[in-house]
Amino acid sequence: MSSVTAPSPAVGPADPLVPVVRGRRRTELVMLIFAFALVAFAFANVGYSLRGRLPSSMAEYLGAFAVVMLVAHLAVRRFAPWSDPLLLPLAALLNGLGVVMTYRLQQSGRNGSPGFVISTLSSSAAITQVFYTAVGVACFVAVLVLIREPRVLQRYTYTFGAIGLFLLALPALLPASISEIPGTGAKIQLRLGSFTIQPEEFAKLALAVAFAGYLVAKRDVLALAGRRVLGIDLPRARDLGPILVIWAASLLLLVFESDVGTSAVFMGLFVAMLYIATSRTSWLLLGFVMFVVGAFVASKLFAHVGERFEVWLHPFTPSMASGLAYQPDQGLYGMASGGLLGKGLGGGQPYFTPLVQSDMVFTAFGEELGLAGAMAILLIYGLLVQRGLRTAMSVKDPFSKLLAGGLSFMLALQVFVIVGGVTRLIPLTGITTPFLSQGGSSLVGGWMLIGLLTRMSDTARRPPPRPIQDEGLTQVVTLK
């Protein structure tokens, strides 16, 4: 594969997407400081609200957080100087708010403040979360250092595909004692002693890379072959293979790991990338119909899938409210009690919601920061996704385009599935809230995703090589 891409006429100097020539690293630093200030303010707010003074360990927490983010910033300056200046500050802000919320939830009921102790949350959860932040940023830096040019990933299409499917299938193959989250029936983790990993968080990234590589190679045949029926271009039967494989894998995930949310994200990612690659609406319709039919059949065949719909439709009947719908109901009550402006960090009662620190964490923000804060968080996610899609549009090579578009869409879909789930827009399926949920795998996976987007935005925004004027009319182009 050639490492040189001839400039296509569509992206000449007149293209409005290209003219950026400034690195904007200073903007990134200013925004990062702004994000840090918000996090510091939130942290202080929790302390004052719960105990009337600054948290005793505030300097340590914020110091560690600042150092980690500074390292990330310096790494970007060194390894991706042309990258988008908002990706890192937005992720840092979400990550910081997640640490603050973990700290706040871990404090409830301690040292004279009213409230339950959240028995499922260890008293060192916030410190652990800061540690995971450091690991996440280390992975972010590693992505920037190891992948200097996004297209190199294209060489490992099938390797990443195999890794992704293996990671996805691993928990289902292992005994429940290792892979099941106690009490939930969801087999999605690997437990090694007291340490747990959720491999799906990394599988999603590997599969996104694999899909991008596969679709770049096959997109012409997928886009053009087929016939038109009722105004819709139907693909050829032989080209249906890959989508059927992914569909089957996502249904197996649904059935054997009881993980509806990830299954939806996984299917959505593939269908969206298929659409970006081919611009063919029929793929979109086909994927959507296949998922809905599969999920519907599964809901009839498997109780654990069907009951999610019941919880969604009738959450307040007495048997539901005290049973399956107890957790989602408490989350809704929390958001309702927050109202427009919220109870203030530390002022609400998010501890009434079981496992509020993981899947339900958005409701804790809704309760304590109110509608205003919840909308702000959604807008931060929206901005992050928008920066990713912007990168996809401006990057030149099709592989990066697909990968950036797919990853951005996956992030959006994940936010939609979990936030929509806890706010009863759609049936609740437990997946993590990117950067906000307490837990390491999701955070590390999230930072790797940001790393990939940062790398691709650097490629997209890097100015074209300058002509060397002394050579007269002959222009020498530096090749990488």
């Binding site: 009337g52 009213p114 408490q330 936010v415």
Partner: protein
Amino acid sequence: MNRALRRISIAVLVMFVLLLVNINYLQGFDTASLANEPGNSRAFYAEQNSYERGSIVTSDGVTIAASRPSAGNGDSIKYQRYYPHGAVYAPVTGYDTLYSQTGVEAAENSLLSGNDAALDVRKAIDLITGKTTKGANVEVTINSAAQTAAYDALASLGKPGGVVALNPKTGAILAMASYPSYDPNVLATHNGKQLNDNDQALLKDPAQPLLNRALQATYPPGSTFKIVTSSALLTQNPSTTINTSVYSPTQLTLPQTTHVLTNDQGEACGNGSGQVPLIDAFAQSCDTTFGKIGMNLGAQALAAMAGKFGMNDPNLAVPLPVAKSDYIIPPSEALTAFSAIGQFSDTVTPLQEAMFAAAIANGGALMRPYLVQQVTASDLSTVQTTSPQLLSQAVSPSVAADVGQMMRAVVQNPNGTAFAFNAANEGGLVIAGKTGTAQSGVYQTDDAVFTSFAPYGNPSIAVGVIIQGGGYGAAAAAPIAVQVIKAYLANLGKQ
């Protein structure tokens, strides 16, 4: 590909708009209906803590539960509940935790917390005049002297038991003590972890400190049930008087068994002739006499009389719920003899013991026992008040007078079981009572029971005492009753 990416961007935009619209609905418009869902613990919690909770005071003005500003400024609940006398009044006040209440705290919760509909008009006025709304204050019928004497006497004995004192004329509960008790202050903490630890410690304590023995524990009444048997006899046979000679063998052979009923230590009743006046058999508490009377009357007659004294009523509430005192119809005549002397399956609460004496003291009219005298709003206007009510006319005034005379003999006659507490020993105070020493079958030592009223001529207090494993009623239970009576009468004299 950019065209597809733009469309994907639009799809993403739609997704985020849907999320934003949905949370606007949820947090902007749907809050009231979600707050009213019955399972919403946040709403319950907010309502519970919206106003300063009212106080609970005794009839003689002693504050036994109150609220004060919370100490920690990081505390989101403004007021801290406290109980100045802790364990002494715990069976009365109950506790008010972050999440639940018991006792008067539970029974009058809506008024104490300020959320009762009866307070709506006053709250509206507070809103207009700018006054801070507070919960209503509850005045209980408890007399602090009687209550303190009851608890101190139980505590110094150190055995589990309950004491209830009633005003026989009204049914007002003057004392309601239980031992072992607990300090409700440890459950009033706003620290969730501490609350949980303290609650678990109390729940796991084998001494069961949270059990209100005065109302919630039942024990066999033993010989105090002879009040019921005598009442049934005197009511059914109007020709019988307290001086009528009754069959009083040293040993009573029971029908269809080889079992022989004897008196306490196998001693003779009276002079051993087998015939003694009813009053002497009552004062000496002859089991053979009353076993025989019971068999003659039949279980149905005993059950009817027990019911008139308030037994077999599962719905009695003061307004705290009261455990049912049982008289179960025995399956045989022999067991009827046992049931007539307060054994077999008879069980009563200390409250029921006090009700026996109270009915006799009040001319046979049993007043409905009650604990809450009145509720006043924070502006001191009366929200509700309890007026005395007749629960049942247990016996006619003449039968009550007869039984009362016999109860006087228990304490005042030299051969009475409680002669140790006669008028000469108690500074001229004439107390009437009945002892009971019950084999509960569950505990090693017998339960000690005593029911009494005083002063005999014009009764103003009736006291029931049950001491689990206390031994003889006269030895363990009667001294406690006498202390409560004397403390109450002394306090009454002062007022």
